[in-house]
Amino acid sequence: MRLIPREIETLWTLFTAPVVWVAHFLVCYIGAAIYCAKPELVGLSFSAVRAGIAAATVIALSLIALSAWLAWRQWGFGTDDPPHDDPTRRDRTLFQGFATLLLSGLSFIAVIFTAMPALFLTECIR
């Protein structure tokens, strides 16, 4: 499967996972804040908010996992060890793949931490 060609040389892929983390954070926090400030406007129960957060979390984690897999591929599935610091195109690509993989790991954990309160909180106030 070559959805995105392996040779792609852009910094944008580096940010995919953190951007997903940001989006997930905003959806969870702004969503819960709007619901708790104006429950009658939304008209759903708090369990719907929790279900929404759960769905957003599944989507975010899948996107981050996809970004991690693409990064792993770009890193050559770990065939070479870091540091990739030769002034060659190949090392540049491997370095970027490795950095993207690490950022994906960080974002994955961060998304879980962001969503975790929804596991325990059953109402707006407690």
Binding site: G105, I109, I112, M116, L119, L121, E123, I125, R126
Partner: protein
């Protein structure tokens, strides 16, 4: 009977120079208990990790200076530097979040048998009890609560941000102008605790405190019933001086013509452990000193000085106030 017992216990504690327990680590309430356990879990967990890291450092610096193969070095980094911290932080976060619902108040305000409305003011606390039955009861600078019953606190501010905290009973909550914050507390042991204002609110911020008295439910109920009616001493002669010198324009004293709402309600000021928001012992002497020069005792206080009055008048008023039990 029980009421007198806890009152005399209170004076005993004060007489022995004990200004009220104030440590989070000596919990006397359900919420504080959980917070204390959380603290100990975090502290011991942190200590174990610290010992592990330092131990590893000493081990590699002193006893085993052999170079590790690159493979095992990376796996130490992966497991010890990524997997272990992530899993540990995840577990600690889950534990802290799991505690939260129990530390937060009732979803419906009506679930509590007693609601206490507390308004922070520079530099004192206005307190109104709203029992589920009966009329509201006003007081100031002291909060009493029944042991073993969860009480809901409604926290407000009339001027700037203050923060409400009774460390041995529970967590801290800000009092923000224009907002109503809620907190619930359940005392598990009788006692007197000190609550400081914990958000800088002006010159006398450090002189803004209150005492919280946890009482047996029976004693609490008879105390509250007694607070709801004028004090016996309200008709005594010092009251006339109090009114004549204009104190009644700022202070409320039930059973008299003093109807002011700018300063603390003094209807039962004589029964409180302290005066001037937890700063002075409730003695005739201290009350007289406060009336004469509140600005010396609490700089920036909204109460004007009355040192132009004859010392005898001040004495008489102080004695009358002490008698408002």
């Amino acid at each position: 009977m029980g009421q007198y017992f806890s009152l005399s216990a209170a004076s005993l504690l004060l007489a022995s120079g004990y200004a009220g327990a104030r440590s989070v680590l000596e919990p006397a309430g359900a919420e504080a208990q959980q917070i204390a356990i959380l603290f100990w879990v975090m502290l011991s967990g942190g200590a174990v990790i610290w010992l592990g890291v330092v131990g590893l450092l000493l081990h590699s610096a002193l006893f085993n200076r052999r170079r590790l193969a690159e493979k095992s070095a990376s796996s130490i980094i992966l497991w010890g530097g990524v997997v272990f911290p992530s899993v540990t932080l995840c577990a600690l976060l889950a534990y802290a979040l799991w505690l939260m619902p129990g530390l937060r108040p009732f979803a419906q305000a009506s679930s509590a048998a007693l609601r206490i409305e507390i308004t922070g003011r520079q530099f004192w606390w206005e307190v109104v009890y709203h029992p589920s039955q009966g009329p509201p009861v006003a007081s100031a600078n002291e909060i009493r609560l029944p042991v073993g019953e969860r009480v809901e606190l409604t926290l407000k501010s009339a001027d700037v941000i203050h923060s409400f905290w009774i460390p041995p009973l529970g967590g801290k909550m800000d009092m923000i102008p224009g907002r109503t914050n809620r907190l619930s507390l359940m005392a598990t042991k009788p006692g007197i605790f000190r609550g400081p204002c914990t958000e800088y609110c002006g010159t006398s911020h450090a002189l803004m405190a209150f005492s919280a008295v946890a009482m047996e439910p029976e004693a609490f109920r008879s105390w509250l019933a007694a607070q709801a009616i004028p004090a016996e001493g309200a008709g005594a002669s010092g009251g006339a001086l109090f009114l004549r010198h204009g104190c009644g324009s700022c202070h409320f004293v039930a059973g008299t013509d003093a109807r002011g709402l700018i300063g603390p309600d003094l209807s039962h000021v004589g029964s409180r452990a302290t005066v001037a928001a937890g700063i002075l012992p409730n003695t005739e002497d201290a009350v007289a000193r406060f009336i004469a020069r509140p600005d010396l005792i609490k700089p920036g206080s909204r109460m004007p000085a009355f040192d132009m009055l004859a010392p005898d008048d001040i004495r008489a008023i102080a004695a009358w106030l002490r008698g408002l039990q």
